[in-house]
């Protein structure tokens, strides 16, 4: 049996040129979808990180599975609306159960999150296996997703004008909604994220914005999971924001940086995946991880290198008086 090499030769032409010369429209849709997913996730993600809800996002992304499976079983369609409703219901149930366990017992938030999402995910997997013949979903497609299939999806029409693959159009709509909501509620989100007490005293209900963000998070996750999979949605939510927050102290700047980073992930992830013949979402995550590692080292104010230098010079300054005395 012939064994191929794991890492193919890096061929300039096939990796960088061919996708854009021969398969331009496919590549465009894939990269655009990648950018829309990670851009939207990144915007929501900045707030998710600031509010220390990163693992709640993880929990929601897993517990969507029973929600969409039930929606599918009840309506026998993969239309957007029932899926959305199922997903939102599952997201709300997750958050409600986590809070219920936290408030009614001595179990802490982390354990409550773990218990709830794993149980709901288990219910989802069992539902899928019980109704395996009726469900056109499999748990693995939910886990991975595949950006590469985006150009093959049904095309959405506006009038008789073909716009593009349905998931891309849907994601674009969600992205626009995210931006509109962000502009409309920027101040409120800012205040509630950093100082819930101040927000309450200004008459802005922190709870309302908390639940609003959670709701929107489940919408974003459900519209993204099809292309990047449940776990990698988390990567797209956390990485842009976390990297941006290492570069700046201002939330508005962080939001811009996270959007720019998302474009970077989409383009370079796509090419990496083409080169290695690997999953595109996986490639985007690897790029995101590498980029985070780089910023972590080299960030101008908070990077490891700067921290190290600062410690060195501090030591020298502290020793100065002693040196003089000697």
């Amino acid at each position: 049996m012939q064994r191929e090499k794991l890492i193919p030769e890096f061929d300039w032409h096939t990796v960088l040129v061919q996708p854009w010369s021969e398969y331009a429209s496919n590549s465009l849709w894939i990269v655009l979808m990648g950018f829309l997913v990670s851009g939207t996730c990144g915007l929501v993600g900045c707030f998710v990180i600031l509010r220390r809800m990163a693992l709640v996002g993880d929990a929601i992304s897993h517990s969507l599975l029973p929600g969409i499976t039930l929606a599918f079983l009840l309506t026998h369609s993969r239309d957007t609306l029932p899926m959305m409703i199922g997903a939102i219901a599952a997201g709300a149930l997750t958050v409600a159960l986590i809070e219920a366990i936290r408030f009614s017992s001595r179990i802490k938030a982390d354990a409550a999150i773990g218990i709830v999402f794993s149980s709901l995910f288990a219910v989802g997997v069992i539902l899928i296996s019980v109704f395996a013949d009726k469900v056109d979903l499999d748990a693995e497609c939910v886990l991975y997703g595949e950006l590469g299939f985006i150009p093959l999806q049904e095309v959405a029409y506006f009038g008789d004008q073909a716009i593009g693959p349905k998931p891309v159009v849907r994601m674009a709509v969600i992205a626009v909604i995210a931006i509109v909501l962000l502009i409309a509620f920027y101040k409120e989100m800012l205040v509630t994220s950093f100082d819930a007490g101040l927000a309450a005293s200004l008459g802005i209900s922190p709870a309302r914005y908390h639940y609003g963000l959670t709701l929107f998070l489940s919408i974003v996750i459900v519209s993204s999971f099809e292309s990047v999979g449940v776990v990698l949605v988390i990567a797209m939510i956390i990485f842009p924001g976390a990297t941006a927050l290492l570069l700046t102290d201002r939330l508005s700047t962080a939001l811009w940086i996270s959007t720019a980073l998302s474009a970077f992930y989409a383009i370079f992830g796509f090419h990496l995946a083409t080169w290695l013949n690997a999953s595109i979402a996986g490639g985007m995550t690897v790029i995101a991880g590498v980029l985070f590692g780089f910023v972590w080292m080299a960030s101008p104010n908070q990077g490891l290198i700067v921290q190290y230098r600062r410690r060195q010079s501090n030591n020298n300054e502290n020793l100065e008086p002693f040196n003089q005395e000697l």
Binding site: R3, G57, G114, S119
Partner: protein
């Protein structure tokens, strides 16, 4: 400062004494358990990989009998495997739950994926040892990264865990998709790592499980005191010179072992449930760490067997999710029916407390009636009390009935509880009068304490005392009395009934 140190040493002394006892009490049952598990392991070393469900085509009861008779080697393998997994994950998960690191298990189980893929690439086969080594390396690296990110950046633990989880997983997805695109990739069987199939455990896997379980139980027993100190008071552990960092990584290494060996049976996503849920259920039932470990191990094993059994009964459902649901049901039972922290207990306790407070308030009003008459009268009718309590006759009558039922008062006119009227007369029994005096004393003492010792205004103290009178016990009352030098009058000039005066 010196007193402080002394206290610390005292604590330490207690600590080691307690632990010696605890160790012996933990050691014996565990060793016995371990021995029997190993016996099982030896019996079932010839295990075939097969779906357990395929064997069964008979009735429900017969299937159950078949399962528990452990006739078929595949059943033995699955049962033993899930038992060991439950045992291992339950015990180690307890430390995660008490340290509020529950989701580190989730991070670990995702982070091992690139290691699994690399281990697979090592010699292009599902060699458990290569995969085990690769996965363990990846897991430990992931945990170290979480710690490092948390230390050196402003990002919080949850973001750090999320990044390691998703980043490593992304790398793993990349690697597995590359492997599957290679020619020999099709039969790699790597997908087993995502959802798990207990029946597919090979005898090599079982040995690995058995060895991991015994190593972790031995290390837990050896370092029990250190792990305990580290889990509850890391400052103390550092202060007495325990190598906290090394111990942390030891625990993480053990956890990684457990996660890696459990992956094939329950899958990536659901391993974390096995680490968290049995331990959380145990946490609801006990306050002692050694009991928590034992309970978590038992719950883990019970859910393992439950999952393997239901998977067997239901023909082809995956084992992992069923094990998880088994442990979730145990957790739910503990949450509702737990004798100490259960919801039901809490509701009953609150109900009982409310009833007691209502009784005590009635008694207090009767005391006031008696006090208004200069302690001359002992019998009152219901309408008098209703006026004093500012409520209607019917509810007052209900309160008196409650007093009578609690044997704190009696009906003067007739012993039976037939028709009562507004004129029906009642009298407190001796016990009722005692209790009434106590409550009034608590109330007035507390008022005096607030005005004298805490500098409250005398017209601000009533509401506070109204709450606290039901809660403070004899010891607190005595301390307040000492502090206020056995006072006679409250801030409003009323009598504080003393214990020795309470005779009436």
């Amino acid at each position: 400062m010196r007193a402080f140190w002394k206290q610390d040493f005292q604590a330490e002394a207690n600590f080691s004494r307690m632990n010696r006892q605890e160790r012996t009490s933990v050691l014996v049952p565990h060793l016995r358990l371990l021995a029997s598990l190993f016996l099982l392991l030896m019996i079932s070393s010839v295990a075939h990989a097969a779906k357990i469900g395929e064997i069964a085509e008979t009735s429900w009861a017969e299937q159950a009998l078949d399962f528990f008779a452990l006739k078929h080697p595949a059943i033995r393998a699955a049962a033993l495997g899930t038992l060991l997994i439950g045992f291992c994950c339950g015990t180690l998960g307890s430390f995660l739950v008490v340290r509020k690191l529950a989701l580190l298990g989730d991070t670990l189980s995702h982070a091992v994926l690139p290691g699994v893929a690399l281990g697979f690439l090592w010699n292009a086969s599902k060699d458990p040892w290569a995969i085990f080594i690769g996965a363990t390396g990846a897991g430990i690296m992931g945990v170290a990264l979480v710690g490092w990110i948390k230390q050196t950046t402003r990002l919080k633990e949850d973001s750090a865990m999320g990044m390691v989880l998703a980043g490593f997983y992304g790398l793993g997805v990349c690697l597995t998709s590359m492997i599957q695109n290679m020619v020999m990739g099709n039969k790699s069987g790597l997908d087993k790592f995502f959802f798990g199939q207990a029946a597919a455990l090979s005898s090599g896997d079982l040995w690995l499980l058995g060895i991991t379980s015994s190593i972790s139980i031995v290390l837990i027993l050896i370092f029990y005191k250190e792990f305990l100190a580290m889990s509850f008071d890391i400052g103390f552990a550092k202060a007495v010179g325990m190598p906290v960092r090394a111990l942390h990584y030891l625990l993480m290494a053990l956890l990684t072992f457990a996660v890696v060996v459990s992956l094939q049976a329950v899958g990536v996503v659901l391993v974390s449930a096995l680490l968290i849920t049995p331990a959380a259920a145990a946490y609801l039932l006990t306050d002692r760490m050694h009991w928590m470990l034992v309970l978590a191990a038992v719950f883990g094993m019970a859910s393992g067997i439950l999952g393997a059994f239901t998977s067997y009964l239901s023909n082809n459902l995956p084992t992992g999710p069923l094990i998880v649901l088994g442990s979730t049901s145990i957790f739910a039972l503990a949450l509702v029916f737990g004798p100490r922290y259960g919801l039901l207990t809490k509701i009953l306790r609150r109900k009982r407390q409310r009833k007691r407070i209502a009784l005590e308030n009635t008694l207090k009003s009767v005391f006031h009636l008696s006090e208004n008459s200069g302690f001359t009268r002992k019998e009152f009718d219901i309408s008098e009390l209703a006026k004093e309590r500012n409520q209607d006759l019917a509810s007052t009558e209900k309160e008196i009935r409650a007093l009578v039922a609690a044997r704190l008062a009696r009906n003067v006119d007739s012993e039976g509880d037939t028709e009562w009227s507004g004129k029906a007369r009642f009298q407190l029994k001796k016990s009722g009068w005692h209790r009434a005096c106590e409550i009034v004393r608590n109330h007035r003492l507390w008022e005096l304490y607030l005005t004298n010792a805490a500098q409250y205004q005398s017209d601000h103290v009533h509401d506070d005392a109204e709450e606290i009178e039901h809660l403070i016990g004899e010891d607190i009352v005595q301390r307040i009395e000492e502090r206020l030098r056995n006072p006679i009058q409250d801030p409003h000039g009323k009598l504080i009934p003393r214990r020795d005066q309470i005779t009436a």
